[in-house]
């Protein structure tokens, strides 16, 4: 097949780097509010009916939203196999915890209302809390670790080895900077969940969500600013050395990498990327204002913009690095040396171009059908079909 020559390898790599961002941002924007609602559940809803209202605001859509996560995993596998191979095995125990929490969530949604005993329902409420809060925290911790570099090296056969004993791999992840990143991620998604509840729920649930969301929104901005300063003065960055081959074979060992003073030197080379952190502050700030003043649709959109800005800022700051190695910088994975083959990237792009618009269209239709607030009356009348 010569068709794939239509697009250069270099361009395809950049496109797939962007699509990786689209998937992560899509995941955070959609499943993010599901996780936020889960983390907020014990605090915004006190009675059983209130909890059912909160759960049913995401009830019909969490399943579709979660596919962003599954597809994210599949797309990383297909487009960035070394990233898939190195990151998930390197974060092994953390991944297990995330998986366990994410498994609790669907089961919690579906099974909670299938029995009426308070002990049963309370148990699932905590499962939903864990299923929302723990992944939100760990995803941020993972980003924090990626920014600092991960202790792996590649053998000449490209087998990934890691430093440290098994428990160190988990405990070592929980360093101060990574925890800060985890808190930013958690508060950001909690704010997003609050914005969603403010739109979809009524009365006390929506009111409590707005109060908590305003606080977590401010914490997000503070934490994000602090992480930025830490990144500027406390963490070394990475840079490619010598001639950069952008369309060579995907073998990370072919390039040379050195540590630099700071990741933030990227803002000197590409000043336009400063727009990403600006959007992160702007979106989150306006979402906080919206929560305080009781605006609904616009608050959710501002919150999405904040998420977009925050996640893009990480990607743009690190470009072209995807997963730097603290143990052996040369093994670091970059956009130019850890993608799939030219043909696979092309085939996957064609598939994405065909199906992504369809997905967006039918997802939008489903949200339209479900438009409107979830009320206590609706939940009790339709008790058999809703959660």
């Amino acid at each position: 097949m010569i068709l794939y020559e239509l697009m250069s390898y270099e361009l395809l790599r950049v496109v797939w780097w962007l699509l990786l961002g689209v998937l992560l941002i899509g995941f955070a924007m959609t499943d993010g509010f599901d996780m936020g609602v889960g983390a907020l559940l014990p605090f915004v809803a006190r009675t059983d009916t209130e909890r059912r209202v909160a759960i049913n605001t995401v009830g019909p859509v969490w399943e579709g939203n979660q596919v962003w996560f599954i597809l994210g995993g599949g797309a990383i596998f297909a487009a960035w196999p070394p990233l898939y191979a190195v990151s998930f095995s390197g974060f092994y125990l953390a991944m297990f915890v995330v998986l366990a929490a994410l498994i609790l969530r669907p089961v919690g949604f579906k099974y909670r209302s299938k029995r009426s005993s308070p002990a049963w329902r309370n148990g699932w409420d905590w499962a939903l809390f864990v299923g929302g809060a723990v992944p939100a925290l760990i995803f941020g911790v993972a980003v924090g670790n990626v920014l600092q570099g991960v202790p792996f090296e590649l053998t000449p056969n490209l087998f990934a080895r890691y430093e440290g004993a098994y428990y160190a791999k988990f405990i070592g992840l929980l360093n101060p900077f990574a925890l800060l990143a985890g808190i930013v991620s958690l508060t950001m998604l909690v704010t997003h969940g609050a914005a969603w509840l403010s739109l979809k729920a009524e009365g006390a649930v929506a009111e409590r969500a707005r109060q908590i969301g305003a606080v977590t929104g401010l914490l997000t901005m503070g934490g994000y600013a602090l992480a930025g300063l830490w990144l500027a003065f406390g963490i070394e960055g990475y840079a490619l050395v010598g001639e950069v081959v952008t369309d060579g074979p995907s073998n990370p060992l072919y390039s040379e990498v050195e540590r630099t003073a700071s990741w933030l030197s990227a803002y000197g080379e590409r000043p336009w990327i400063a727009i990403a952190p600006v959007l992160a502050f702007l979106g989150t700030g306006l979402a906080v204002r919206g929560l305080l003043s009781g605006r609904e649709v616009s608050t959710l959109l501002w919150s999405k913009l904040g998420i977009f800005g925050a996640i893009s800022s990480v990607g743009l700051t690190m470009f072209p690095f995807i997963l730097p190695s603290s143990l052996d910088p040369r093994s670091s994975l970059t956009v130019w040396d850890s993608s799939s083959s030219h043909q696979t990237l092309f085939v996957m792009l064609v598939t994405t171009v065909i199906f992504m618009p369809l997905i967006l269209a039918y997802t939008a239709w489903v949200y339209k059908v479900l438009w409107g607030k979830v009320t206590e009356a609706e939940v009790s009348e339709n008790s058999e079909n809703v959660y």
Partner: protein, 537 residues
């Protein structure tokens, strides 16, 4: 068995995959059965069919959610436990997994919410469309997963790239239309349909035994028996297609399944039962049916099917050729663009056997230093343990024929005997509910255990595919999964039984009123009175 990372990772993968597949076949089949029921409702307008749709839909939901939840593990476990595998074949294997998400799982998961939440928000036809989209999404999902799995059995459309040390895709169409994948897909979804049919049949039979929900149960049996009959026939016929394609794509697996140690003159006979002896390389007390194996395997009377011993000799040759490829690979990696043309040619010629040289890495650092003895030992490693495959396959096939018989019987009584099922038959229908799951799990066992010692047949040995993890890492997660999954299973079964005992609870009044009125209408016309349905509880 030594508890090393490879064995533990295999155990964990087998456990989580087989657990996942407790829920998948019912999802595949029940989604279609529910969609058929709702179609009848929309076409006839009789509320009983809506009641059936909602009732079976509730059970579908309880099952579906665990399929989804345990599927999350599957998507990430390759990277977690099979890091080198992910690097080595991700260029090909990742694509169908991602396309599954794009094309199928998004469809299924986005609409399944509306299936439950949309009854009052959508028109009749609108809701029916949603239900069918869920069913189509689930089934397409199986297609892409089996394309990925099919490639592990028969790795077509890919070539090794020395510069990136991995397999890379040369033809997406060959990967997609891999004959093994296509045969496996239809076989697997048919197995899912049979599973759901047996499930619906068994639960309905239980209602008839208890004289509850008779109208719902009879109609459900009619749907399950007709759909189940077609599916049971197709699962056997298409299973045979899988066997036929294995004759030329996975010859060692076929020989092991059949306990064929030596190559027999064509047409080979089929060993019905026997006791395979791995040490002595023979199957004791074999009961053989002449010609049958040759006919199934080659669809001819003249072509031979190679036995295990001949295949081992072939592995020996391929290991030696692989060593030459390995040697060339080392030179290419060192000299990159300055590699002499003849070395490249050597690699072209022998590169297809590189994976066989990797079999030696269990014993030596560098395959080039392997002695003849080690080569012979590695060649023997290509033989999977025969007896589990031999028996698993036979039990699966026996169950497959059993399902045909059951479905024919119930189809006959539903169609021509006015649902006058003998009580023993109803009891039997309840008793056999677990059997399709046994058949499905055994089928996967044959497919995956029979592929050993490879993760990708002839390309990458299992022992080489793992991540750099410690035994403690994997033990910890394995224990975690066992504990967690057991709790979830108990909860799921508890809910399933609760909702089966409870029976249909939605639309009961409207259905009863409609049916009563319908009987009166028929009586007014002077027709024979229909047997009264048992009052719903």
């Amino acid at each position: 068995m030594e508890l090393d990372v490879v064995e533990l990772s295999r155990l964990q993968f087998a456990m989580t995959a087989m657990y996942h597949f407790l829920f998948v076949p019912l999802t595949l089949g029940l989604s279609v059965i529910v969609a058929i029921m709702e179609t009848v409702y929309v076409m006839t307008g009789r509320p009983i069919w809506r009641q059936m749709t909602k009732f079976w839909g509730t059970l579908f939901g309880i099952n579906f959610v665990l399929g989804v939840a345990t599927g999350i593990t599957m998507e990430f476990q390759f990277g977690m436990n099979w890091s080198y595998y992910s690097h080595y074949v991700g260029d090909i294997f990742g694509a169908p997994l991602a396309i599954e998400g794009l094309m199928a799982f998004f469809l299924e998961a986005t609409f399944v919410g509306l299936f439950f939440f949309g009854w009052d928000k959508l028109s009749k036809v609108g809701h029916l469309t949603v239900t069918w989209l869920v069913a189509i999404g689930s089934n397409f999902s199986a297609l892409w997963i089996l394309i990925a799995n099919g490639w592990m059995q028969n790795p077509v459309g890919a070539v090794f790239n020395p510069e990136t040390m991995r397999m890379e895709m040369t033809s997406f169409f060959e990967v997609m239309f891999n004959e093994v994948a296509q045969a496996k897909f239809v076989h697997t979804v048919s197995a899912g349909y049979v599973t759901a049919s047996v499930f619906v049949l068994g639960v309905s039979a239980w209602y008839l035994l208890k004289d509850r929900h008779v109208e719902l149960a009879r109609r459900s049996i009619a749907v399950a028996a007709s759909f189940g009959l077609a599916s049971a026939l197709s699962v056997v016929v298409l299973g045979d297609e899988s066997g036929y394609s294995a004759t030329h794509t996975q010859r060692m697996k076929l020989a092991a399944m059949e306990g064929m140690w030596q190559t027999h003159e064509a047409p080979a006979s089929f060993t019905l039962v026997g006791i395979p002896d791995q040490e002595a390389r023979e199957t004791r007390y074999a009961v053989e049916i002449p010609w049958v194996m040759g006919l199934i395997g080659t669809r001819s009377l003249t072509r031979e099917i190679p036995g295990i011993e001949d295949l081992v000799a072939e592995s020996d040759r391929r290991i030696r050729s692989g060593i030459i490829a390995y040697d060339a690979l080392m030179t290419i990696r060192e000299q990159r663009n300055d590699t002499p043309a003849e070395i490249r040619e050597t690699f072209e010629e022998h590169g297809g056997n590189l994976g066989y040289a990797f079999l030696l890495l269990r014993y030596v650092e560098d395959p080039r230093g392997a002695s003849d003895e080690l080569i012979a030992k590695a060649a023997q490693d290509t033989v999977p343990t025969v007896w589990p495959l031999f028996w698993a396959f036979r039990i699966m096939v026996g169950l497959g024929f059993g399902f045909i018989a059951v479905m024919v019987y119930f189809f006959w009584y539903a169609s021509f005997r006015a649902h006058a099922y003998p009580r023993w038959a109803l009891r039997a229908a309840v008793a056999i509910i677990p059997t399709p799951w046994i058949a499905a799990e055994l089928g996967w066992f044959v497919a995956e255990y029979g592929r050993q010692p490879w993760t990708v047949d002839g390309v990458l040995p299992t022992a080489l595919s793992v991540s750099h993890l410690s035994v403690q890492d994997v033990l910890l997660t394995l224990a975690g999964f066992v504990l967690f999954y057991t709790v979830l299973f108990v909860i799921e079964m508890g809910l399933m039984l609760k909702y089966i005992r409870k029976g249909p609870t939605q639309d009961v009044d409207v259905t009863d009123a409609w049916e009563a009125q319908h009987r009166r209408r028929l009586l007014d016309r002077g027709g024979a009175p229909l047997p009264a349905a048992a009052p719903a509880e």
